[in-house]
């Protein structure tokens, strides 16, 4: 089970308190009616699914109930950092290390 640090509660809590909410930093189109089908598909369905460093959203469902972002290596499942929603995308710490 992952141990996840909620950036709002400033506490490390077990994964069962959280729910995963998919890839982070996918911005809702500013002007939806201008999008063609290709761009809708990209927004709705296409995902990075990174093998290595992954930017993702979590919700502290059974805590403060707020959404935040995390950087995690999907090969080792090691969480590098978490940060508040709306904060800029940080650089990952070094190479993913496990991408074999």
């Amino acid at each position: 089970m992952l141990l996840i640090r909620c950036p709002y509660c400033e506490e490390e809590r077990p994964e069962v308190e959280f729910s995963y909410a998919g890839e982070a930093h996918i911005a809702r189109p500013a002007d939806p009616s201008q999008l063609n089908d290709e761009q809708w598909a990209e927004y709705l369905f296409i995902r990075t699914n990174a093998r290595g460093i992954h930017y993702e959203r979590w919700c502290h469902r059974h805590g403060c109930a707020r959404y935040f972002n995390a950087v995690r290596d999907t090969v080792t499942d090691k969480l590098q950092m978490t940060y508040k929603a709306g904060e800029p995308k940080p650089d990952a710490i070094g190479p993913s290390g496990g991408d074999k």
């Binding site: 089970m1 992952l2 994964e15 998919g22 809708w40 598909a41 709705l44 093998r51």
Partner: protein, 347 residues
Amino acid sequence: MGTGRNTTIIRSNYLYDESARIYDHALDLWDGLSQELNYNVMYSKRGVMMLAHNVHDMQSFHRHIHANRLNGVDNQWLTPEEAKAYCPPLSISKNARYPVMGAALQKKGGVARHDSVAWGYARAAAALGVDIIQNCAVTGIKRAADGAVEGIETERGFIATPKVGVSAAGNSSVLMEMAGLRFPLESYPLQALVSEPVKPVFPCVVMSNTVHAYISQSDKGELVIGAGTDQYVSYSQHGALHIIEHTLASICEIFPLFKRMRMLRSWGGVVDVTPDRSPILGKTPVPGLYVNCGWGTGGFKATPGAGHLLAHTIAKDEPHKINAPFTLDRFRTGRLIDEAAAAAVAH
């Protein structure tokens, strides 16, 4: 990887016409597979029973049964007593927290031995002159100036070829990325576990989407148990213990007699999940590159069908009519095959 390590459930009672055709095509092929491969894959049509625990289950299962019958797919409704007669270990106590209100039974469904399927196919393919290079990862897909496939880079050198078929399950995104393609896939851990072996006690496969677990007994005597994926994207090939606890709590709820069984081992694989929970099987935007992916939690049952359809698509450079709807393009057109909404959980 998935094929060698799964819970081997085979069934074809999916809701939509496209799914019924592709899964039932596979089911038909399982029938003669041992003879065709000259290798006993131990396909056992012991029946797959899906339990209904509430009014919603009953309604949606009836809808499935009617849809299946219209498509010529075997599926029937059982009362709780009939379900108990088919699977004596089942508790149909009215006092259960989630009482069994009936079940949908696909008698032609069942299990096969996963290792035998992999070995049987490998041996039969080798006999036909196919070179199987083990423990050798593909590291790149080389494309010519016009975009078409020229060959693949591997850990042991370059292989020139105008046609490449990718069947990489949980790693499909990684392979597609090598050709510059982004896919509607996410890879999740899916765990399963087996108990210590016991004498035959469990005659069929039982799935409960509502209480959330499924179970069968292997020919070695182990109870084979599984449920849903972990919640986050991962390539780590293992998941969290609380998922297993949840799965076993569900099993004990439906089968109180297994409360004292000891579990022997658990494992996790990586499954590639599409937004509509249906596979992508066909051509890609890159000429010469073909893909068979997105089977998610339930592609073992499709093995013979997927193999045949991918081979057909590669040989003819166009899909067979059975896999024609399973395009990548459906995510652009919106013509989804939404088994996710139809089933809600693991296949």
